[in-house]
Amino acid sequence: MDVIVWSRIQFAMTAAYHWLFVPLTLGLALVMAVMETIYVIKKDDFWKKTAQYWMKLFAINFAVGIATGIILEFEFGTNWSNYSWFVGDMFGAPLAIEGILAFFMEATFFAVMFFGWDRVSKRFHLVSTWLTGIGATISAFWILVANGWMQNPVGTTFNPETVRSEMASAQAFWEVVSNPVAISKFFHAITSGWVTGGVFVVGISCWYLLKKRQRKFARASILIGSIVGIVGSFAVMLSGDASGVHAAEFQPMKLAAAEGLQDGGRRAAFTIVPGIKIPGMLSILATHDIDGFVPGINDILNGYTDNEGNEIPSVAEKMAMGREALVALSIYRSTDDPSEKAEARYALEENVQYMGYGHLEKPEDVIPPVGVVFWAFRFMIGLGMLLLLELLVIGWLAWKDKLAGKRWLMIAAIVCIPLVYICGQAGWIVAEVGRQPWTIQGLLPVNVAISSLSAGAVKTTFFVFLAIFTLFLVIEIRILIGAIKKGPETPNE
């Protein structure tokens, strides 16, 4: 395998590991902040100890999230050198804002939250707990603004003087920040974190009920966890619906791959699993109109007319225009003749929106791995529905105090903990594998985004990171299990 493949595998592995730890951070942050708020309002020590218990698990998980996060940030530079120059003008700003606004907030108030119980006032501590979660959420917003721009590069123009995409006005910055893809991604990611937190809390609490330990603590935690998880699930569905519409509009190939749709059309059917389809459903989901046209893989390869009546060129035509753009850029950068320069600039501007296609070898290169995206999409949706059902049933029974004796349900809640992680990973596989071969949609394919490294160097670091992250994961799970077995300090009622 070459350096491009190893760079992709390394980045995918780092991102996948990072996303094992981040959603629990986002979800538990909300759960424990709600619990501590109840403690401050009710002045009941039970809620303090309940919040402290979940904070302990939060802290174990938080450390590994930080460790994987720093590698992810710097891999943009180490492994994707061209990419980091090409996007630096746009991507750097959200990253810097993330650092200044979010990271310091998280780091400072995490320390207060964890060590400050006997050092700061009750209210200051509560504010610190909320700010830790808010810091993590702000952090996610800015990184998803950057990710959203990669999926739908709005608000920037290509500057041939600097050979990169640049923002040029306040309106452009606003377009980047309010990019609909970024907004739906943000809500989808954050609220999926709430689902993870909710399912985790409910699952662990059910284990205590199974063991007939800490019943009061477990019921209270199930109530808070299931509410957070249910609210998160509905928000995930709403933002997921928006993501589907955005994929149809800005990344139709991703949607076609997720559906395994070779030939599209109006009243397109949604495939539940191969052989079982709902007529017209895909058109409704993708365009909110049963008569909406959804292009399939072949339509995109060969060109089609979209729902606004625009003629979308075939990939071969886009490749030809992309190559013209690259030739024009090369001439523009090398000539000193003003008229030749002006001519090259004109040719570049005419074709720049397809510049990335100029780097492709053949039209089929724009097709992502269909099988992977198709099944990941189904795992995501299927597991998401199952988890919502679990939270609704267990939350309702806990509310009515009728969980006792429902042994199979409690076992199911524990089984749901790994399932929520599979669900989250499947979602990111749809989002990121589905947009291949692009690091920036239409502008920069992965084969041009790389650093000048040998495959051996990246292969070595891949295995080193894999070994370290796996070791950390195993240790974290062992420590979490130890802490869970030990249990909270609430009275064993």
Binding site: F74, W85, G92, A93, F109, G116, S452
Partner: protein
């Protein structure tokens, strides 16, 4: 706001973040004592819990330093990180181990034993300042890379910034001038760490040990730092003219000091403050040496960044192709992006204020053996 003002402003902020990062690396310096055989396990635990409440600030400053470099000078980010691959990977690995070592080391389920995690913290304590200092040292010695923006139009070799050798940055470790800065930084963080523990931990034996450490680190620190400085002042530097053409200039960095007297004053003041902090910690009974030494460190590091980048100087020079050298003019983000970030950066004083407030609240109670015994949440 002009492009030049914004580029200078962002180089100032990079310098400030660099200064704060070096100051906050007292965490690394203090962690060196986790292997000190003269200290008991409880005393090591006190040190661990003292740095354990600050390590995230150091870590966050490193991340923000990287993010700010990416945002304001992306060509440096793409050239140095993609090129000096192994150096950055080693630095990151040492920080990755640090990130989990606090939380994991005293948990019985940690699989590899608490000693292993203490070793990880000590490796980070040595490697982080040594490698970061050496990497910054190459700002004055140059590195083996070329930058060719037209390359992106060539499907066969599209990478804009390419490194000239297979060592990918490790070659800096045999560049004696760059390495001198790395060694200086390692001993400086050791001094800062000892001064910090002196201030933060109430234990007579630990305090006596910290004063000894300051004295023992002083001589190698001065030897390495003064050697680095002397060579810097007499070596040729990478000058950029108004058209961005790079050429070698004799005594360039000496000229930079002399042509920017404010930077010279800042540098000398910083050195004096560091020495005063050391004197207070090593030779007086004071526990507040960390403050002058810390402020002095920030000033010195900022001055070093200023002479690397201001006054028509290439801050990331290429030995292979002089014209590929990076200056704050040719490697920056666009004027608009720098301007957006300028407005965001005005929040920095607010961020510093709440960190200082939270820090003050947390440090009102010093770390004592009783506190370690009584506190539920500890490392």
């Amino acid at each position: 706001m002009s492009d030049i003002f914004l580029q200078n402003y962002w180089w100032f902020l990079i310098a400030l973040l660099g200064g704060l990062l070096v100051f906050l690396m007292f965490v690394q310096g203090a962690n060196l004592h986790l292997g000190n055989r003269t200290l008991s396990d409880l005393q090591k635990r006190m040190i661990l819990n003292s740095t354990g409440r600050k390590w995230e600030l150091t870590f966050t400053t490193l991340v923000t330093f990287g993010g700010a470099f990416f945002a304001s000078f992306p060509l440096f980010y793409s050239t140095s990180f993609g090129g000096a691959y192994w150096v950055w990977v080693l630095i990151l690995l040492s920080f990755v181990f640090q990130a989990v070592s606090y939380e994991f080391q005293n948990k019985k389920e940690n699989l590899i034993g608490s000693k292993a995690f203490r070793v990880f913290l000590m490796i980070n304590a040595i490697l982080a300042p040594l490698l970061i200092g050496t990497a910054v040292g190459t700002f004055f010695t140059g590195s083996d890379f070329t930058v060719n923006k037209v390359a992106i139009t060539d499907p066969a070799a599209p990478v804009i910034s390419t490194w000239g050798n297979g060592w990918h940055g490790l070659e800096a470790l045999v560049n004696y001038h760059a390495l001198l800065l790395g060694c200086s930084l390692m001993f400086l963080t050791s001094i800062l760490g000892a001064l910090y523990i002196l201030n933060n931990v109430d234990d007579n034996a630990i305090q006596a040990q910290m004063r000894r450490t300051v004295k023992m680190s002083l001589v190698p620190f001065l030897a390495f730092f003064l050697s680095w400085l002397l060579i810097l002042l007499v070596r040729p530097g990478f000058a950029a003219d108004e058209d961005g053409i790079i050429s070698m200039e004799k005594f360039k960095y000496l000229h930079n000091f002399l042509q920017m007297p404010a930077v010279l004053v800042m540098f000398l003041l910083g050195v004096l403050l560091v020495l005063w902090g050391i004197f207070k910690g090593a030779f007086q009974q004071s526990r507040s040496g960390i403050w002058p030494a810390g402020i002095g460190t920030v000033l010195v590091v900022m001055a070093v960044f200023f002479i690397a980048g201001y006054n028509g100087t290439a801050y990331y020079p290429s030995c292979t192709d002089l014209q590929s050298s990076l200056t704050i003019r040719n490697s920056s983000s666009s004027q608009f992006t720098l301007q957006v970030m300028f407005w965001v950066s005005l929040l920095i004083p607010f961020v510093v204020a709440y960190i200082a407030y939270a820090w003050h609240q947390m440090d009102r109670k010093k770390i004592t053996p009783e506190e370690i015994a009584d506190t539920k949440h500890k490392y």
